[in-house]
């Protein structure tokens, strides 16, 4: 298994399948009943979060604890980072305490890659800037597979603020690897530069896409990353690209509604659309724990990666 998970591209389709199959075994007693296992006793996982997060951090913490690993939550507020400590110094401090995995979220794209070069622990990217969020993509793939069984030929429409979205990048690449067709939907100002090279269709017309889609994935309008400046008003965005119950009737009967959370209710999705039976938004959260357990088991349950590093 891989040592670091910095990008969804660190995995190949076989590796993704292995994570998803392992995650399924953790849900054998039911999607929300996950027992505690002694498997990672003696291992330490550090959550290093430079950005706000509730579900991802909690999900990683629960996953590690259910495998009996020790978890240290390191949040920037109240730490030496507020005194100006650099990422490298923080990393080396944590490293010196002897940890097995560092789960990092950072506002700068590429921060996990830099970190991986400095430490011998496994690094897991929990979201870096506008780059990637590979574990979100894995849990989304898991949720889609739970309903459709496979990916080939599935049509997935990702709607909204693609340009600022690390979730979109990881999902597009993961879905393509598994054989799904991806269409990006949104105003041209929210499409990333050089999107032509992504191998996806793009359109501004959501109502043309919905009847054909097996999955409609709404992205959060990232107001903190300046999304607001790229659309005239949020109300107009909501009218043209938001999903409400009326627009959801365009979907096929078996199609799913997904959202990575946290939702801006009334902007990219209305409360009534988020609560339709076909919405699997809370399943995504529940599945996240199982998927992260699988990843931790596969990454930390093998031979100690650090022992393979030659000592200079």
């Amino acid at each position: 298994m891989i040592r670091h998970l910095l990008s969804i591209k660190d995995l190949d389709p076989e590796g993704i399948e292995r994570v998803l199959a392992t995650a399924a075994t953790f849900q054998a007693d039911g999607p929300r009943i996950m027992r505690k296992y002694p498997t990672l006793r003696g291992k330490t996982v550090v959550n290093l979060f430079y950005e706000a997060s509730t579900r991802t951090r909690t999900s990683f913490e629960l996953a590690a604890k259910r495998l009996s690993a020790d978890v240290v939550n390191f949040s920037v507020s109240g730490s030496a980072v507020e005194k100006g400590e650099s990422l490298k110094d923080t990393a080396q401090t944590i490293e010196a305490m002897g940890v097995d995995a560092i789960v990092i979220r950072h506002s700068s794209s590429g921060a996990p890659n830099r970190l991986a070069g400095w430490v011998s622990a496994s690094v897991i990217n929990a979201g870096d800037g506008m780059h990637e969020h590979p574990t979100q993509a894995l849990l989304d793939l898991y949720t889609i597979r739970q309903h459709f069984g496979s990916f080939s030929g599935l049509r997935v429409a990702i709607v909204g603020d693609i340009a600022h979205s690390r979730v979109a990048r990881s999902n597009v690449w993961g879905l393509q690897m598994m054989g799904a067709d991806v269409t990006l939907v949104g105003p041209p100002t929210l499409l990333p530069p050089r999107v032509e090279g992504w191998g996806v269709e793009t359109t501004a017309d959501i109502e043309a896409v919905l009847p054909k889609a097996d999955v409609v994935y709404l992205l959060r309008m990232q107001l903190e990353r300046g999304t607001g400046a790229t659309v005239p008003t949020l109300r107009e965005y909501s009218r043209l690209w938001g999903l409400d119950a009326a627009r959801a009737t365009l979907l096929k009967d078996e199609a799913l509604i997904m959202h990575p959370g946290p939702m801006n209710r009334g902007v990219e999705i209305t409360a009534d659309a988020a609560e339709l039976p076909r919405s699997v938004i809370t399943d995504q959260v529940a599945n996240g724990v199982a998927v992260r357990m699988a990843l931790l088991y596969l990454m930390l349950g093998g031979r100690d990666a650090r022992e393979e590093v030659p000592v200079e």
Binding site: A21, P38, L67, Y297, G301, G302, R303, D304
Partner: protein
């Protein structure tokens, strides 16, 4: 193999004075099929089929961190509280899998008693574990390999004794 399964089924009912409270739990993968066959046998003897389950021990192994993570399969176990659990495995060797199975089982409930049934006991125990029901004792060397074949998985029933090809194993590493 059929005779061994039939005999173990008789021994289980004899020792437990019937099959009431008996739950048969197979250790994945081949133990599960053996547990199902034992349950069918007990059904034909007693007229009631004991509940069965499947136990994955991958997360309880004692060599985690020493080899690549093993593939996991779903554990499906009925209620075992107060029951007599018969753990069913194909081969008993070092006893380490049985130790892991006991730990996995105890995390799931508190059985009244746990008994161990194996098709083949090949010796070389490394832990203080013994089987309550043995299909056949097969003396082996450590450089040998015992492979149990189950019709449901392997197309035919049988037990194969082979020599471990050390060069092939070396290459596989």
């Amino acid at each position: 193999m059929q005779r061994a399964v039939a005999r173990i089924a008789h021994e289980i009912t004899e020792r437990n004075k019937g099959a009431r409270d008996v739950v048969l739990i197979g250790v994945l993968t081949r133990g599960v099929h053996l547990a199902e066959r034992l349950a069918d046998r007990i059904d034909s003897i007693e007229g009631t089929r004991p509940p069965t389950g499947a136990l994955d021990i991958g997360l309880y192994r004692d060599d985690i961190g020493m080899r690549d993570p093993v593939a996991l399969a779903p554990t499906k176990v009925p209620n075992i509280d107060g029951k007599i659990v018969v753990l069913v495995d194909d081969v008993l060797y070092t006893g380490r899998s049985s130790r892991a199975a006991l730990d996995a089982l105890i995390d799931l409930g508190r059985p009244k008693a746990v008994q161990l049934a194996v098709l083949i006991d090949r010796g070389h125990r490394e832990l203080p574990i013994r089987a309550d029901y043995v299909g056949k004792n097969v003396p082996t060397g450590r450089n040998e390999e015992v492979r149990v074949k189950i019709a449901e998985l392997d197309g035919e029933d049988g037990v194969e004794l082979g020599r471990v090809d050390e060069t092939a194993e070396e290459a596989a590493r």
